[in-house]
Structures are given as C-alpha cells and as structure tokens.
C-alpha cells in the first residue's frame, strides 16, 4: 500500500512547481493505489526526483514509482550502535541472495558496536564503503538512477539523513553456462558459445583477446527494456570512421524495447530492403575475436547470445570458423564446395524447371530420355511440382525447428522419406524432382550462417517462379537484378561483394581458397584498417637443417 501522505510530503520538500502540482494530485487521491495517470506522471519525473534525507519518504516514493510489485523487497534495518534507520531495496530473483545476506550481516552484526557515523565524522558514502563488503559502492542522487540500479539486479540502501542512495552490485540474474553454439557447431575449434549475459559474453571475448587496446562502450537502449548494448572494438585496428559510424547509428536508436540483437540490426544497417544480412550475427566468441582482429566492430546485446559483427561482406557470410582451424588445402576444398553449393541451393530447382519446361534442346539426348521417362505420368507442370516440393520441404524444416528436439528430428526424417516416397509412388512428382529438391535442401544446409541460408531459401522460390514463367530468360533477368542489387549493397560503407567487387587481388587468398596462415601476413585490404600487418616475415615453417651424418631434428651447434 502506498503511503500517500509521505509521497505528498516528499514532493512538497522538493520545492519545484511541477512537484507541487503532482503533490496536489496525489493528495487528492483516495484508495490503496494511486490512479494510473498519476503513476505515469510520477514516472515521467523520476530522473529529476532527488533522494530525500527522510528514509520514510524515500521508501514511499520508491513504492509509489514501482507500484505494488510483489518482487520488490525492502528490508528495514538499523545500523551502528546508535541504531540509525536504513532500508535495503532489491528485486527478488534478480539479486543474488548470498550477496544480500553478506551485506545485511555487515550492516547489522558487524557495525553493532560502533556508532554510525563515527564520532567526529560525517554521514557519507565513505562511511559505508568501509563497512560493506562489496566490490563497488556508488552513491546515486536521483530516483531514476535508483530504479535503474534496482531493475539491473543491484541492491540499493537508503539511510536516514543521507541524500544519496547507495548502490551495490548484487546481480543474480538467472544465467546459463556457455555451451556449444546451437547454430554454428564445429568439429574442430572451441566449444563455448555466447550466453544471454552481456557481462559473460564480454568476458568470453576478453579471455581470447587479452589486449589492453580492447575498448568497450556501453549504451542503454529501449525506454522500457533498458537493454545494455556494448560496442567492442580494438583501438588501432578498427578504423575510427567505422567505429564512429556504428556509435552514431546506435546512439540515434529511439525505441521502447530491444529484446534481441535483431531489433538493433534492422535499425543500423545500410539498406533495409534486402534479403542479405549486412551484419554478421554469430554465437561464437572466436568468430567475433577473429573479426575484431580484422578491424571489425562488435555489438553485444544483453539478453541474447547473438553478437553482431560489422562491417560484413558476402564472403564473410559464407565462411565458417572451422575454415581457419583445419588444414588449408582441406579448408579451401570445403570452401569452394560451399560456394558451388550456394549456387545449387538457389539456382538448382530453377534450372531444372527451365530446362525441362522450355529448353529441352539443351539437354544431351540420353539425359533427356531419362528425364522424360521419369516425368511420364506426372500431372503437374515442372514449376508447380517444384514449388509444391520446395514448400513441403520448407514446412518440414520449419516444423523440425519448432517441435521439441526429440520429436523434431523424427518428424523431419519421417516426413521427408514418407512424403517424398509416397508422392513419387502416387505419381504426383517425378523421382528426379525429389533428387533435385533433396540436393537443394542439402546445399542450403551447407551455408554456415542461418541468416544467409534464409536469404538463399527465399531467393530460390523467386527464381523457380521466374524459370517457370520465362525459362532461362527469366533466370538471366533475375540474376542481373540480383547482381545489380548485390553490387550496390554496402555494410557500413564497405562494398558487400568485397573483395571480389571491387577487386582486391591481394585479398583473394582468403575467398574461395584459403592460403596457409603464414602466407596471410597482411589483414584484408578492402577493410579500412589502422594496422595491416598481421605477422612477421619469417613464419613459414622449415624442416631443421640436416647436418652431415646427423639425424634430422637433432640440435645444431
């Protein structure tokens, strides 16, 4: 229940005209709760409301601002031998109970024998900094800061006669352990992934990047969610222009809520009307660190394990972390295969539809006979057949994602097998179409990043329709429009098709093929960077020189 008299008293003490108006309105209220408009007006003023020296008023105003929330706890206590009244506020579930107990013990038991403030001393922040076993104790002067601290999981202590509220970090938000990223697993490489805690995510980055030039800037986004967003970059490597641009775009965000990094992504990207991700989103700390070492900037959003890395390019979206952990010839082979399969993923069904519908003359005779035999009896044109199969495949995939894990896999496999086999046996689709759709589905799974895979999936439908209506002509027109689109895309000013377009010949060593690490002496040229040198000159490994008559590897004099 709100003690309205104390709230009125607090507002009158403030001695500001608008506070007096508010006090009149509160005084006019009856009942256990303040009416909603009055609560809203109080909330609008919270940043200007000072902490009162009267403890009871502070308690009343915090209660009035937070409403009758069950989880907001206030623990009255007396500190020191002179029994100075105080009150500890915290939000149950968000604050760590162990730390609360430690603070309470220090305030009540340990200070029992001495007066507070000590004789001849003043009642101030330092008095309590000596007393309470907390890493940091900060004093805040406004009710807005008090509420912000409380809602971040910190504890707030009000003391009679003190015009500061003492904020102690007791964050005990529910967390999960860093485990393997679900969307980007690797065979070789680190198995820890980001979690929902921005503090832990930053620690995961710092663990790999123990560089004193790592810079972290904090933003709070969302007028209601107050989501913490961290801008992380390496001083001297990240180009100041890009850092400033990211800072500018993040600073201008004015939304009421940020629940996931996707909210921010759509508010800071260069171009909204595109299927392609212009920001790389990853759950892997090693990927973020590797990106920052190439001059990129990371944005960590509290509450999500997905960290954004910018600027991004099409090539970066097709690279997997493992490409740099496996041996370079195998990595290069897999990377090339991946690029080929990207083309199959979005052009496979369209090409099949175009050839079988309009351009049979392009198929070698033997293959044509096989295709015609396979399609015999199928009542639909190839385009309808392809669209139906692709839609079924997408539905199965979506169902597999939404269903519980154990059931999901079974549904996907059974669905694919049963529906595919039954459809062929019923003569609704041709076996060749099943092969094409299956190959396409496998190809789209090869794309390492989910956002890119989604873009390819959507494009595939557009190209199937174009091929079904206009054959190769439709595909050429579609490809040309796609090319124009991709060429004109930018990610924080960096061309999206870099380093292929505009061509940067020196950077081709890390596109379709990855050269050995010792040959990648310089960081990418297409990125505006402070320092291009990645390593020294003499990193190429050599077998030890063989002394005459000696064994290889033996120590030389």
């Amino acid at each position: 229940m709100i003690e309205q008299a104390l709230v009125v008293q607090y507002l009158r003490r403030w001695q500001v005209e608008r506070a007096n108006i508010l006090a009149d309105r509160v005084a006019a209220c009856g009942g256990a709760q303040l009416p909603e408009p009055v609560q809203m007006d109080l909330a609008a003023e919270k940043d200007n409301m000072p902490v009162s020296p009267a403890l009871a008023e502070n308690r009343a105003i915090v209660r009035a601002l937070l409403g009758a929330s069950e989880d907001v706890m206030d623990r009255p206590l007396y500190v020191g031998s002179n029994r100075l009244p105080a009150c500890l506020f915290y939000v149950n579930g968000m604050a760590d109970r162990t730390q609360i107990m430690l603070i309470l013990e220090a305030l009540t038991s340990q200070s029992r024998n001495d007066p507070i403030p000590p004789p001849g001393g003043a009642l101030n922040l330092e008095t309590f900094q000596q007393l309470i076993p907390s890493a940091t104790i900060t004093g805040v002067g406004s009710m807005g800061q008090v509420l912000e601290a409380l809602l971040n999981g910190d504890s707030v202590l009000f003391v009679e006669g003190l015009t500061l509220a003492l904020v102690m970090p007791t964050d005990g938000l529910p967390k999960r352990q860093p485990d393997e990223p679900t969307t980007e697993p690797t065979v070789r490489g680190p198995k820890d992934g980001f979690t929902e805690s921005h503090v832990e995510n930053l620690a995961l980055i710092r663990r790999r990047l123990r560089d004193d030039r790592l810079r972290v800037e904090k933003f709070t986004l969302g007028t209601r969610t107050h989501t913490t967003v961290l801008l992380v970059y390496l001083l001297g490597l990240a180009e100041p222009g890009i850092v400033n641009e990211v800072r500018r775009r993040v600073s201008r965000i004015q939304v009421d809520s940020v629940l996931e990094s996707g909210y921010i992504e759509e508010l800071i990207e260069d171009e909204s009307f595109t299927l392609f991700p212009l920001v790389k989103v990853t759950e892997r700390p090693d990927v973020v660190v590797a990106g920052m070492l190439e001059g990129k900037v990371a944005l960590i959003t509290d509450g999500t394990p997905h960290v954004m890395l910018m600027p991004s390019t099409l090539v970066a979206e097709l690279q997997a972390a493992e490409d740099y952990y496996d041996r370079w010839p195998t990595s290069s082979f897999i990377r090339t295969l991946r690029i080929i399969y990207v083309f199959i993923a979005f052009l496979g069904p369209a090409t099949y539809v175009a050839i079988t519908t309009y351009h049979q003359e392009l198929i070698p005779t033997n293959l044509l006979i096989t295709l015609i035999t396979a399609r015999e009896g199928v009542p639909f044109p190839a385009v309808i057949e392809a669209l139906a199969m692709e839609l079924t495949m997408e539905a199965l995939r979506e169902a597999g994602v939404r269903l519980p894990k154990v059931v999901g896999q079974a549904i996907s496999i059974v669905g694919a097998l049963v529906i595919g086999d039954s459809a062929v046996q019923a003569g609704l689709v041709s076996p060749v179409m099943v092969v094409v759709v299956a190959l396409t589905a496998i190809a789209s799974f090869i794309i390492p990043l989910y956002a890119m895979s989604l873009a390819v999936r959507v494009l595939r439908f557009a190209f199937v329709v174009l091929a079904g209506v206009f054959g190769f002509f439709g595909i050429v027109v579609g490809l040309m429009a796609l090319y124009v689109h991709l060429v004109s895309l930018r990610s924080f000013g960096v061309p999206y098709l870099s380093p292929m377009i505009p061509p940067s010949w020196g950077d081709q060593r890390d596109v379709a093929v990855r050269v050995p690490w010792w040959a990648m002496r310089r960081r990418p040229r297409f990125m505006p960077l402070g320092n291009r040198s990645r390593m020294g000159l003499s990193n190429r490994p050599h077998a030890p020189e063989r002394k005459e008559g000696g064994k290889p590897g033996a120590a030389t004099d």
Partner: protein, 366 residues
C-alpha cells in the same frame, strides 16, 4: 557525392555497347554488301566510332568535372544545355528501345517461341529501371561481368571451330569491290557511332586515369573483337550463307560440338548475349536519364527513369519484326538519321566548349 568508376569499368561499358548488339545483328547486313571483307568494314567503321568517342571525351574535358551539360546549365541556364541534352537523350532513348526490341525478338524466336514481345518487355524494362536508379557503379559492373567472359569465349572460340575453317572463304581480297566495302562501312557507322554514350560516363570516370586511353581501349577493343568474330563467321560459313541467316553469330556457336555430352554450347552464349542485351537497354536508358536529370537538376531520378522506360517499352512494340529490323539497319535514311544525330550532338558540344572558353577568356580579361 558522385559515384566514380575505374578505367576498366568505363572501358567495359564502351566495349559492351560497341559489340553486343552488332554481334547478332550486323553480320547479316555486312556480308550482303562486303562479302568476305565484312571484318574489314567493321574495323574501318570502328575508326569512326573511335573518332566520335574521342571527340566526345575531348569536348567533355573542356568543361569542369568533364560535365558539359552541367557546366552549360550553370553558366548560361538550363536552356543552354537543353539542345544537347534533348538530342542526346532522344538518341539514347531510341537506341534503348531498339535494343529492347532486339532482345525481346531474339528471346521470342530462340528461347520462348510463341511468347509475345510485350510480355517480356516489362521484365527487361524493370531490371533496366532498377539498375539505372541504383547508379553508374552497378551498371558499369554488370558491363565488366559480361565483358570478361565474352572476351574469354571469343578467344576460345577458334579452338572449337578450327575444323570448320576454310581459308579459301576469305580469298580473294575485295572480291566484291571497293563499293561493297564502302557500303558496308556506311552501314556500320550508325552502330559504331553509338560510342557517343561516353558522354554520360566520362564525368564518372576516376580523375586519376587517362580518359583518352581508356576510351580508345573500350571502343577499339570492341571493334577488334567484333571484327575477329566476323572473320570467324566468314571462315566458317563463307560470304553468302551468313547473309541468309537471321543471327549468324548465334549459329557459329551452334555448330560447336566438343563431345557427345557437350554439344550445345550456344546456351552459354545465349545467356551472355541476353545479359549484354539487357545491359545495352540499361546503358542507353541511363544515358538518357542522366543528361535530362543533369539538365533539369533532378536528384531523385526514379520517376524520370520510369517515364523514359515506359516510352522505350512502347516504342519497342511498334518497331517491325526481325527481318525488317535487319533490313532497317541497311537503309540509307536510317543510317543518316543516326549519324546526323551523333554529329549534331558533337557539334553542339564543340560550340558549347568554344563559347565557354570565350566567356572564360572575357571574364579573365575583364
């Protein structure tokens, strides 16, 4: 800030403009007049194209930022730039409509038999509008992406055709006399003079590169390539048969059979030529939009592009069928119209440059 392009991209645009459409449409007409010397007609006609483009570049370089239309507008008002801009835009709109018509006809005949051209035209126009609105960089990058494989294909072409070569097909020299050659050259002028489109791209060319050199590479390279393919057509088909084929350049690829599995290479060429054709529509539309926008100081070009594209689309539908169209290329009045427009634009540019120079001199002395 104005987008800039490199010398390579600029040359690729000029090369594609000078080679894609003539590759399909010129051989038939040229062989009819010049016989086995058609390749020479292209080379000599190319000299005119080179001269037109170099004079255009020279005139453009007389103005600040290589932008004659803007300079004239700023110095004397929009009416001073209007004659050049209107003539130039009209010519490019006509060329865009012709290219659109050619692509839709080719597609209707070889790729989608029975599909009316007006069904295909909106798609082509749609892509052209999108590319033009996106600016000079995407347009020139497509040109580069099409030009590079095209050069590779033409370089590899002789290896697939050498069994069909008959050196006697080009012997004796000047079999049809000098008249035929001159007539064929006059037919090429309307095509080669299209290199005047350099006017819209020169202002975007990076100031670090030599504009004359890259213009010469682009326009000269296009005509050398075209001449080589013309020579190949003559070596394979002789000097009579190509005059009876609608698209001899296309048939050249149709006879290549590397093995039983790889027997229809023309599919690849079709794709390249289609892309090149779409690009020609786009580049001419871009040129028309660019000069009109600069003249009237329009920054948001969407609506101008859309209006001009619709006009081009409409014009493409009233043009005659493929046989009449190839006949049209050889008509004297048609070629005079084109060459006249090209020369008129050059003349106006030269006058503009001269007046600008005089005014500058007067201001300096005053």
């Amino acid at each position: 800030m104005q987008q800039q392009i490199s010398g390579g991209l600029y040359a690729a645009v000029l090369a594609i403009m000078g080679s894609v459409m003539p590759y399909m449409l010129l051989p038939r007409a040229l062989v009819q007049y010049a016989g086995q010397e058609a390749w020479l007609a292209i080379l000599l006609g190319g000299l005119y194209g080179l001269a037109v483009s170099l004079v255009t570049v020279w005139a453009a370089c007389r103005f600040s930022h290589r932008d004659p239309v803007k300079a004239l507008r700023c110095a004397f008002g929009p009416w001073a730039a209007l004659p050049v801009a209107l003539l130039y835009s009209a010519l490019n709109l006509l060329l865009s409509a012709l290219a659109l018509h050619d692509v839709q006809t080719f597609t209707s005949i070889l790729l989608l038999p029975g599909t009316p051209g007006w069904v295909l035209a909106p798609m082509i126009a749609g892509v052209a509008i999108y590319a033009v609105v996106r600016g000079v960089e995407p347009v020139s990058r497509i040109a580069f992406a099409v030009f590079l494989p095209m050069v590779l294909v033409i370089l590899v072409l002789p290896t697939g055709l050498f069994r069909e070569f008959d050196i006697l097909q080009i012997d004796p020299f000047l079999y049809r006399g000098l008249d035929g050659l001159v007539r064929a050259i006059s037919v090429t002028l309307a095509w080669t003079g299209q290199s005047i489109v350099a006017l819209s791209f020169i202002r975007h060319l990076s100031p670090k590169v030599n504009p004359y050199l890259w213009t010469a590479i682009g326009v000269g390279g296009a005509h050398v390539l075209l001449s080589v393919t013309m020579a190949l057509i003559t070596l394979v088909f002789g000097s009579v048969l190509p005059g009876r084929l609608l698209y001899p350049g296309f048939e050249l690829f149709a006879i290549i059979a590397v093995s039983e599995a790889v027997e229809r290479i023309q599919a690849g060429v079709m794709v390249l030529w289609l892309a090149g054709g779409l690009l020609k529509v786009t580049v001419n539309l871009f040129a028309a939009v660019e000069e009109l926008s600069v003249t009237f100081n329009v920054h948001r070009r969407g609506w101008i592009t859309a209006v001009l594209a619709v006009i081009a689309m409409g014009a493409a539908q009233i043009l005659p069928g493929p046989l009449q169209r190839t006949g049209l290329t050889a008509q004297a009045w048609w070629n005079i119209l084109h060459v006249g427009l090209q020369l008129a634009i050059l003349l106006l540019l030269a006058i503009g440059a001269l007046v600008g120079r005089l005014r500058q001199g007067a201001m300096a002395s005053g």
